[in-house]
Amino acid sequence: MEDGTPGRAWYEIVAHVLKRHQVDLVTYVPDNVLRPLLELVHADPFFTAFAVAREEEGLGINAGAWMGGRRSILMMQTSGFATLANALASLTVPFQIPNLMLVSERGTMGEFNIGQQLVARTMRPVLNTLLIESHTLTRLDELEFILDRSIVQAVATQAPCCYILSPLLTGGKVFAA
């Protein structure tokens, strides 16, 4: 299995690396770009995947799961990340919980929705202010390495990590003019 090599789609690589690190619980609020990844984890019995009502609910579930000995990831779009500041600042960061987050980046490179464009600008300042490690995923050839190493680091240092899924990698959502 040549994961990380061209020929595998980004979502196949993500699912593969999550599996390798026993990240088997996926909570999410849906996003169109995430759709193939969500379909993949739903179809694979290794994963327990379900939608939650709010992103912070997913963060809470994942924090509880970590304390109970289970690894997980929360998937969402940028507008969803914008609802997380309080939960990150009161739960994830002070309790030193290695919450993994995957954010489908909206609001840039051809965005058509002005709300998405504005809310996207709040994401990196929040991550930086809370000193949360983040990686913008832009290249297929780097994807496996970044995910693999940073999951190891998150667990070892008990620190959260946020992956920003760039349109450069996924193609993003295209404005149908």
Partner: protein, 205 residues
């Protein structure tokens, strides 16, 4: 399974109890290292006051997340029973989490709502529960069919015992008075987490 049929049909009919008293009664019924998550507000202060068990988690600041955190622990450790204690103001902020618990049919999770009709810790401002929102009815509407108000203290004890014995998810609504909590939780998050993870056997003791 279901709660016995003699439960109050509405919030108005439930006896107003005392949070510390019923928290102690609940803790006294724990025999199998059940996990207990204390929500924000006075709920976790009285859990702290009722005796610090290594299987207790005291959530600080993340209003509304006691049920999700409990759900996560329950997902990670399906053979351990988990109880999430949450204030009425807090659960009003995260009602969707009740639907998630119902949809997942989380067998090992019990939710206990401490309903004083107010945001007590921030000064006692009226909450929507005092103006007609019935958390048990809402829970049932979310699909949590095994939800009921506790008629009084002995009914509460019976309901807790039943929820620890039989498959959930369960939700127990408790009307409580406005007495102040007996103690204050120590605010040291990494230590609270470390003790909890050791209490759950995730980290070596």
């Amino acid at each position: 399974m279901a709660f016995p049929p003699n439960q109050p049909v509405s919030r108005e009919q439930a006896k107003v109890m005392n949070r510390f008293d019923i928290t102690k009664r609940m803790v006294a019924l724990l025999r199998n290292e059940e996990a207990v998550i204390g929500g924000i507000g006075y709920t976790n202060f009285d859990l702290w006051g009722a005796g610090q068990r290594p299987q207790n988690f005291y959530m600080l600041g993340s209003m509304g997340l006691a049920v999700p955190i409990g759900m996560g622990v329950a997902l990670a450790q399906p053979r351990r029973k988990v109880i999430a204690l949450e204030g009425d103001g807090s659960i009003l902020m995260e009602l969707g989490s009740l639907a998630t618990v119902a949809a997942r049919k989380q067998k090992n999770l019990t939710v206990v709502i401490m309903d004083n009709g107010a945001y007590q810790i921030t000064g006692g401002q009226t909450a929507l529960t005092a103006e007609g929102a019935d958390i048990v009815a809402i829970a049932k509407g979310c699909g949590l069919t095994q939800s009921a108000w506790a008629a009084d203290e002995s009914a509460f004890e019976e309901m807790i015992a039943l929820s620890l014995r039989e498959d959930g998810p369960w939700l127990i609504g408790c009307r409580i008075d406005s007495a102040k909590p007996v103690e204050t939780t120590e605010r040291d998050p990494p230590i609270l987490k470390d003790r909890f993870m050791r209490g759950l056997g995730v980290k070596g003791s």
